[in-house]
Symmetry: C2
């Protein structure tokens, strides 16, 4: 029988704290690595950008040649060539000269800034410059994204689709990840029947097909079918289940049931939690055998599905050596570390990294532009600034929509 009910947070923490890393490591192609847990700090094999490049369309110049100019007092530079994106820059810029350049193109030697095309006017081989630029302005520096040898994605992260292009762009073809978790699933009870084999007077077992549908794309499943309410049958099933990394039984715990499964669990390992203060799902039982999680889910379909998400899913991540705190699309409320500017009438999607102190803090990522690959993979979510605002202030609490699994190890950077 269930004596006391643990608070949800406490139950989850105690349970996850006892689960050990169970899966094997494997080296697989980055192209096949989506939704796998990364088990190494991945280092870039290339430098990105591999050279200084223009961040805008315009003219590559020596910044000194633009100092003090304005519309009424432009500087006039001789156009000595052009660099298109994707080609090597073979021309050189001297004082008094400019080179026509496209976004992403290699900066020519001698130039240290780009004047945007909007502030120029070219004719007869010369270009008028109407606005001054500082050295480095509108230039994306070599290695701004990452230098060869830098850690670009850390162990414990769940690889997302947009990490694939990032890793490949950094010259990484294979990554060390966790093998899939092996999960065993059985439903229990004399009252249920296999939905594929109807039986009169009994209740259809919807839980097993639900759970199998949830897991089959990303786990190795061991389906133990329906186990009848007898200690012998249940012990046999439990023995079989021990070959897996995560052991799940449904309908094996409730106020009304004979406590066979919790008893069997205690023979092999430890019953950590029996009864959690949640509704539905109160009778949930959680145990550990040899660092391996055992979850006895209630049989009622709604209670089963809710406790499955609260306890089974995090356990599956934990045996793969990561602790997932929140999932993509979920919203985390966080305090902004600094202002996020925006333009009224434009909806801005600002990328942020999260850190957890006593509360969540969101650090907006500053880059020279949306071409920085690392700013997709090395952030945790997006803050949307609506069209009606000119930004959010530092210290404001904003909603961060997660773009990746938020893992505990990431919150400690």
């Amino acid at each position: 029988m269930i004596k006391k009910r643990k608070a949800l947070k406490e139950a989850v923490e105690e349970f996850l704290g006892e689960i050990k890393h169970r899966t094997k490591r494997e080296k697989i192609e980055v192209l096949d690595s989506c939704n796998r847990v990364l088990l190494e700090d991945v280092k870039a094999k290339l430098t990105m950008p591999p050279f200084d490049r223009a961040a805008m369309d315009g003219y590559a110049v020596k910044a000194e040649d633009t100092f003090g100019v304005d519309e009424s007092n432009p500087s006039l530079l001789r156009v000595v060539g052009e660099v298109e994106t994707g080609e090597e820059a073979k021309v050189r810029v001297e004082r008094g000269e400019a080179v026509r350049i496209s976004t992403g193109a290699m900066m020519p030697e001698g130039a240290n800034a780009v004047v945007m095309v909007e502030y120029t006017n070219e004719r007869d081989g010369y270009v008028e410059i109407y606005r001054s630029v500082a050295p480095g302005e509108n230039v994306s520096k070599k290695g701004e994204d990452f230098f060869s040898g830098k850690v670009i994605l850390k162990t414990g992260n769940v690889i997302q689709p947009f990490d694939v292009g990032y890793l490949l762009s950094a010259g990484v073809r294979k990554v060390e990840v966790s093998g899939k978790a092996k999960v065993s699933i059985a439903s229990t009870g004399n009252e249920v029947f296999d939905v594929l084999k109807p039986s009169k007077g009994k209740i259809p077992d919807s839980n097993r097909p639900n759970i199998i549908s949830h897991l089959k794309s990303w786990c190795d499943l061991l389906d133990l079918g329906i186990v009848r309410d007898s200690k012998k049958e249940m012990s046999k099933a439990f023995e079989k289940a021990l070959s897996s990394d995560v052991i799940v039984f449904t309908g094996a715990t409730s106020a009304g049931k004979k406590d066979y499964m919790p008893e069997i669990l205690k023979e092999y390992g430890e019953l950590l939690v029996h009864g959690v203060a949640i509704k539905p799902g109160m009778p949930i039982a959680l145990g550990i055998v040899d660092g391996k999680p055992v979850i006895l889910l209630p049989g009622s379909p709604v209670a089963c599905m809710i406790t499955f998400k609260l306890f089974v899913i995090p356990a599956i991540w934990k045996v793969q050596n990561t602790e997932v705190v929140a999932y993509p699309n979920e919203v985390i409320k966080a305090e902004l570390s600094r202002r996020v500017p925006s333009t009224a009438g434009t909806k801005t999607f600002a990328r942020v990294k999260l850190k957890k102190l006593d509360k969540y803090v969101a650090y907006p990522v500053m880059t020279s532009g949306s071409g920085i690959l690392s700013s997709l993979s090395n952030v945790h979510g997006i803050v949307e600034v609506p069209e009606s605002l000119e930004g959010f202030e530092a210290g404001e609490v904003v909603e961060v929509k997660l773009t990746r699994h938020l893992v505990k190890s990431e919150l400690r950077w």
Copy 2:
């Protein structure tokens, strides 16, 4: 060149409004139907529960035998038998009699209520009843979940893992769904190289592998590789892409680029939107050829990924004949139609249906317990009541965490 920028909401609505249903219908096994769009109203082939059943452990009685009783004045009933879950009830209850019964077990003839075991005391063949029950109390009525012939899941829904057990429990083995959408993807530009074939002086194309990784598990992909900046090459690629349902080009639209792709698009169909007031992602272009969506994504990786999620994903659902408004795990703020009660110290997960009037309204689902299958599949999300509260009041604005894709057709029920 881009003349005016549309507001995001307006751009999405105009674009989706022009997209036609493109995919074929197919009849597939429910077990293989996860993440597919349902293209029929599915009817139950069975009644659930198939008989009146006990919703609690206790004693099946005639309610009349308990009227007016309390601790100091119990009624005494003769125990004439027992019904266990999963077996047929062969005993009959008369006035002055009771039958021991387990949760989920078939109600014996003659009985019309169940007294919870906590309010009873059995000895020597008789049971003392300390609390009165109303007729129907603690009984789950035949067909409470669904009657045979009732529509249990509506067209336009995206099938979730927990729908699988529900449909199978209702005797449904096959469902009519949308075939997978065929999506063509090409990157464009002289400046990019295929990440699997590095090339000096150029920029790695991270966008194509990112998008392919996003889609490969649920779409049929037509990978057209990298297309160079020439009208001839691009026209050729566009012609090939026309065999797919959704056409995606990356790097084919920007302020600096020659407008080949928008021009080609105009030759075959209509350019609906060129430039949206978002940052990053402003240069996005959206078009329609023959009811088929064409999306020209910006080439910058961050802008590309953000506009991919804003425009490509909804377009892929729309060609499958559904309009997804929000995704699982996302949060919708909604006004409660009525009070959600909870017990202090217990975390309650209340299931709600959503309706959109001028704002979202959340309708809490009332059932006799967590055993009702339809209350998993026929709700849109969960409202969590924290342990510190005794519930939420009617009219309060709460956060609903979606448990399934929220589709437009569902909001009109």
